[in-house]
């Protein structure tokens, strides 16, 4: 299908914003396997922004419902303001982007094997590449 890698492979500094520990760990494993560096896992908005301020982050994956009642949409807006492109990782994808750097949404449950292709494509699209690069697992907001 259309989930083959349509963009050159590269190593990105990734931030995972996800309050479910097991899901966060699995995402970390699945992306580290492809050479990405996971700068940290955050479970709420404050810890996400702390990590974003403390590290160079190329790209963030962000759940929509976070710990302590926090909203992943708020986290995505703040990350976007810091110039970090974001994709949501959610069972209920929001209908629209809250910031221009929120590229799209990967719907849970997702194919683990397609995650890397979605992240790379979203990163390239955030940088101005063609939306045609998006694999089927990635729903774009633009």
């Amino acid at each position: 299908m259309n989930d083959r890698l349509n963009v050159p492979s590269r190593s990105l500094n990734l931030l995972i914003v996800e309050d479910e520990a097991l899901i966060a760990m699995m995402v970390e494993d699945a992306l580290a396997l492809h050479g990405h560096v996971i700068v940290g896992i955050a479970e709420d908005v404050a810890s996400a922004l702390d990590l974003a301020d403390a590290h160079h982050v190329d790209f963030a994956l962000c759940d929509v419902r976070l710990a302590n009642g926090d909203s992943g949409v708020d986290a995505a807006i703040e990350l976007g303001r810091r110039g970090i492109p974001v994709v949501y990782l959610s069972g209920n994808c929001p209908p629209s982007a809250a910031h221009r750097l929120v590229v799209g949404c990967i719907s849970k449950p997702f194919h683990t094997a397609s995650l890397n292709a979605s992240v790379l494509a979203a990163f390239e699209i955030a940088g101005g590449a063609s939306p045609d690069l998006a694999p089927t697992a990635l729903t774009l907001y633009r």
Partner: protein, 373 residues
């Protein structure tokens, strides 16, 4: 309507401008216009405002009070002809308090005449407002009290029987319209609550599936035994297939069936090499309860037949002369037993399907219906 003559009430003949003698002939017209507006109304308070604007000059009305019942009290929802102080003074009534409170408690219409000459405490409020005639009707629908609607005059001490009859009819219309608006509001609230519940359930189910996948994948990653790790990985793959097989269902309008092409596309997501082409059966569907079995069957064939990610394609071929559709998986390595495994046989049995293999291809014949047939 009860003709309520307060104690110490002096009957005062109508003086000043008389009621339009042609008024009864206008009643049908007023009722028709009122019914039209009330049927189209979408706001309870504004609806009564507009009704008052419609009938005010024809019936020479000075004031209206529309109370809404809230638990055991009446709350002024809409009014006209009052100063802010007067409206504030009548903002709430207990059941039994003042004329409308009595009308609500007793569910009986009141026509109070000669108010200005009365010392009855019951009419003290409307007297203070300057009214000399006041008619209040309880708004009741299906035995349920909704509120009250009262109209008053300062210039005359009573309404004629025809006018009272018209006002009563209009109040009955208002009660019907308010009941309809309340039903609509309840219905919308019920739908919104169910939507929220459905969204929450959907989120929980998806998250639970994602957690299951994550758990198995993490166990597989930490397992030293290769065979065991491979088995766990296969379990992870199959849970992902089950999850993927549900995805087209979320987007489907018809919850009884799932499109085979959509199902195949969802299942093939994540498999690097498979493509799906549909030939001659653009809307072939399966009963929804067979979707997961079909998805797992195709996934098993693809993973066994393309162990290293060799290119494969899937075609759905409809034949108008038969009641079956062929799903043909091409480009397979036939060294493995693609159809004889326990899972495959169980899935084929569940689907009431047959299967055959030949020259790098497996054909599954499904007894499905196509919308084109």
């Amino acid at each position: 309507m009860e003709e309520h003559a307060p104690s110490q009430h002096a009957i005062i003949p109508v003086e000043g401008p008389s009621v339009d003698p042609d008024l009864p002939r206008l009643h049908l017209k007023i009722m028709a216009e009122a019914a039209e507006r009330l049927l189209a109304a979408d706001d309870s308070a504004r609806m009564v405002d507009e009704l008052f604007a419609l009938i005010r000059s024809e019936l020479r009305l000075d004031v209206f009070f529309n109370y809404r019942l809230e638990q055991d009290r009446l709350v002024l929802e809409a009014h006209a002809g009052l100063t802010e102080e007067q409206a504030a003074a009548g903002a709430e009534l207990a059941l039994g308090q003042a004329v409308c409170g009595c009308a609500a408690r007793e569910r009986r219409r009141y026509h109070v005449t000669g108010v200005q000459a009365s010392d009855d405490p019951l009419v003290a409020f409307v007297k203070q407002v300057g009214l000399d005639a006041y008619a209040c009707t309880p708004l009741v629908y299906g035995g349920e009290l909704i509120g009250t609607l009262g109209f008053g005059r300062r210039w005359a001490d009573r309404f004629s029987d025809d006018e009272i009859s018209l006002l009563h009819t209009l109040c009955h219309y208002v009660a019907l319209a308010k009941h309809r608006l309340q039903l609509e509001q309840d219905l919308r609230a019920g739908i919104e609550q169910r939507e929220r519940l459905l969204n929450e359930l959907n989120h929980r189910v998806r998250n639970a599936l994602q957690l299951a996948v994550s758990m198995v994948r993490l166990e597989a990653a930490s397992e030293a035994d290769r065979a065991c790790a491979a088995a766990l990985a296969r379990v992870g793959d199959r849970i992902e297939v089950i999850a993927a097989a549900h995805r087209p269902i979320y987007a489907a309008d018809d919850l009884r069936t799932v499109e085979v092409a959509e199902l195949l596309r969802a299942v093939s997501t994540g498999l690097k090499t498979s493509t799906v082409r549909v030939i001659g059966a653009p809307r072939t569907t399966l009963p929804i309860e067979q979707g997961v079995a079909f998805a797992l069957l195709i996934h098993t064939i693809l993973t066994l037949g393309c162990p290293s990610g060799e290119p494969a394609s899937i075609e759905i071929v409809g034949d108008a002369s038969t009641a079956t559709v062929d799903v043909i998986v091409k480009g397979l390595n036939m060294q493995a037993d693609l159809l004889g495994g326990r899972f495959q046989r169980a899935f084929l049995r569940q689907l009431s399907a047959s299967a055959a293999s030949d020259a790098g291809a497996v054909t599954i014949t499904l007894p499905v219906r196509s919308d084109e047939r």
